[in-house]
């Protein structure tokens, strides 16, 4: 019943039904997984703001055409690395800029 409601995108009805089954009392593992994804989102914490994005935005506006089809990594408006593979890009970043949290985007 729950799965059918979810498949029909009747999420509110599914949640109302799920409220009758506390997560810690759901012994069936597949039911537990369903209850987890059905749960409302939860705002866990507030964090300080990160680096300003304006410079990265400006780089993307100016250079979107120059790395078509590739993933790029940007920080402070500078290109750190580019690669066709996201996994390979992240390996490069781990090697050369492990403490930077760049913006990654596939052009």
């Amino acid at each position: 019943m729950l799965r059918q409601l979810l498949a029909d995108h009747r999420v509110l009805a599914a949640r109302k039904l799920a409220d009758a089954v506390p997560l810690d009392q759901a012994l069936d593992e597949s039911l537990r997984r369903l209850l987890i994804v059905l749960a409302e989102p939860v705002v866990r914490r507030r964090l300080p703001a990160g680096p300003k994005s304006a410079d990265n935005i400006e780089w993307l506006r100016r250079n979107a055409g120059s790395h078509a089809g590739r993933w790029v990594a940007l920080a402070d408006g500078e290109l750190l690395a580019a690669d066709e593979s996201l996994a390979a890009l992240r390996r490069k970043l781990q090697q050369f800029a492990p403490h930077v949290e760049p913006l990654l985007h596939r052009l």
């Binding site: 799965r3 997984r33 987890i36 989102p41 939860v42 866990r44 507030r46 949290e101 913006l103 596939r106």
Partner: protein
């Protein structure tokens, strides 16, 4: 920051958004905001009409979201009908000013998904207050 009529804070964070997907020009404007999925900072299109938030297949793969548990799901969209799974993931709404927000959210992942990242209402935005200021390309947000 914005405030509600009773004086309480409406939003706690603010960031700049793109009004098109960089590298993927379109005839219509859209809102692309900065988020982190599993700690990886990317752009995601804001789509309140989307049933669920969706991750690009590359990103979902890199985060290992195809390897774990999740609820099988079929999603119909403008792009087509796609089979995948709903999974629980940590999403961060990134802030240029004020506070970023960490949200335990439900997202849809599929190896068949041909497009980029979307943040949708169910499973994420439904517990977020948010507003758009097109004059400054500002995305303003706060948790309920």
């Amino acid at each position: 920051m914005l405030h509600r009529p009773d004086g309480s804070v409406f939003a706690s964070g603010r960031s700049r958004f793109f009004d098109e997907a960089p590298g993927h020009p379109s005839e219509t404007a859209s809102v692309h905001v900065q988020v982190k999925f599993g700690g990886i900072r990317v752009l995601a299109m804001l789509d309140t009409g989307a049933s669920w938030s969706v991750l690009s297949a590359d990103l979902a793969d890199e985060l290992g979201l195809f390897d774990g548990d999740g609820e099988p799901m079929t999603v119909s969209s403008r792009i087509g009908t796609v089979q995948g799974r709903l999974v629980r993931a940590k999403t961060t709404l990134v802030a240029d000013d004020g506070d970023a927000l960490d949200v335990d959210s439900t997202v849809f992942v599929s190896r068949q998904w041909p497009a980029g990242n979307f943040i949708g209402y169910t499973g994420l935005l439904e517990r977020i207050r948010f507003a758009i200021d097109p004059q400054d390309n500002a995305f303003i947000f706060g948790g309920l």
